[in-house]
């Protein structure tokens, strides 16, 4: 049986990817609120997903506050779909 993608097989990274599969883009505050995670941990996991090319991260300013916008990439969509397919085979769905 195929192995689950280790990069996605983590609670917070999977949560981030699941959210970004459902929206066009989300900012850091929204992701933090929906995943109920700490800012430090979320930031680390976003960097890991971004380095893998699964999400794109755009840093900018909103008024005089910094704003980080995340969106899923084509590679991210493919990886997530593959993850779900493997998950289904594990769970016999």
């Amino acid at each position: 049986m195929k192995e689950l993608n280790p990069l996605l097989h983590s609670q917070l990274r999977l949560a981030i990817m699941s959210i970004l599969m459902n929206v066009e883009e989300a900012d850091f505050v929204y992701l933090k609120e929906k995943t109920e995670s700490t800012a430090g941990n979320l930031s680390v996991q976003i960097d890991k997903l971004s380095s893998a090319g699964y999400i794109s991260v755009e840093k900018g300013m909103s008024g005089n506050r910094p704003r980080t916008l995340c969106s899923i990439t084509e590679d991210g969509i493919k990886a997530f779909e593959e993850y779900v397919d493997v998950l289904k085979s594990y769970l016999n769905l």
Binding site: L4, H9, S10, Q11, L12, R13, L14, A15, S18, I19, N22, V23, E24, E25, A26, D27, V29, Y30, E33, K34, T35, E36, S37, N41, V44, Q45, S62, G63, R67, V84, L87, Y90, L91
Partner: protein, 207 residues
């Protein structure tokens, strides 16, 4: 939530829980609708009063106050809403593009009408009214169906019905006299923008 390894069952739970959380998104505010609605209604009343009081057609240029004020305000308000929400969904993107296409087409039509008027001396401003009262309800009905908001869908349907009556009047060469056209035009904006705007804001307040 932490960076911990999951069982397969837990993975599935994370995915379904995140999908549910992103679905339970608040509808947004009706402030942009209200801004357009009140702007159009106040401009109509102002033009109506000035035309009736002075009998000078020059006051018709005041119609341009609607896009000149409304378009930049929409841009500012939309940016602020996006900042507050922190998220853009597919339906947000579609509805935003839908209204942008409508806005751009209105600008193009204005330029065409100006061209006809200035170069050819042909007055075809009625085309603006006809286009607005048909295209705007279609955009609103589509938005209502996409975001599943009945007040928008029904506002658009009533607006379209008013629009169709006015189109028949124009093609049937019935003069659009201010004493009946203006109240109907104001009603058009009230049902299309003001009523749905207040309903959406009320829903947003209720949470």
């Amino acid at each position: 939530m932490e960076d911990k390894k999951l069982t397969e069952k837990e993975s599935l739970e994370v995915i379904t829980s995140m999908i549910a959380r992103t679905k339970a998104r608040y509808l947004g505010s009706g402030n942009i609708l209200l801004m357009w609605g009140y702007l159009a209604v106040f401009s109509s009343i102002l033009v109506w009063i000035l035309l009736a009081a002075t009998r000078q057609n020059v006051w018709n240029w005041l119609w341009f106050a609607i896009p000149v004020i409304g378009m930049p305000l929409t841009s500012i308000m939309a940016r602020r809403e996006k900042r507050t929400d922190g998220v853009v969904t597919y339906s947000d993107k579609i509805t935003s593009h839908l209204w942008s296409i409508f806005g751009v087409s209105e600008i193009v039509l204005t330029l065409i009408c100006l061209g006809f008027s200035l170069i050819g001396g042909i007055k075809c401003w009625t085309a603006m009214i006809v286009y607005t009262i048909i295209a705007a309800p279609f955009a609103e009905i589509a938005q209502g169906l996409i975001v599943k908001e009945k007040s928008l869908t029904w506002g658009g349907i009533v607006g379209l019905a008013i629009g169709m009556v006015l189109v028949c009047c124009v093609t049937g060469k019935i003069p659009l006299l201010a004493n009946w056209f203006m109240p109907l035009f104001i009603l058009f904006w009230v049902v299309m923008m003001i009523v749905p705007g207040h309903i959406i804001n009320h829903k947003a307040k209720k949470g």
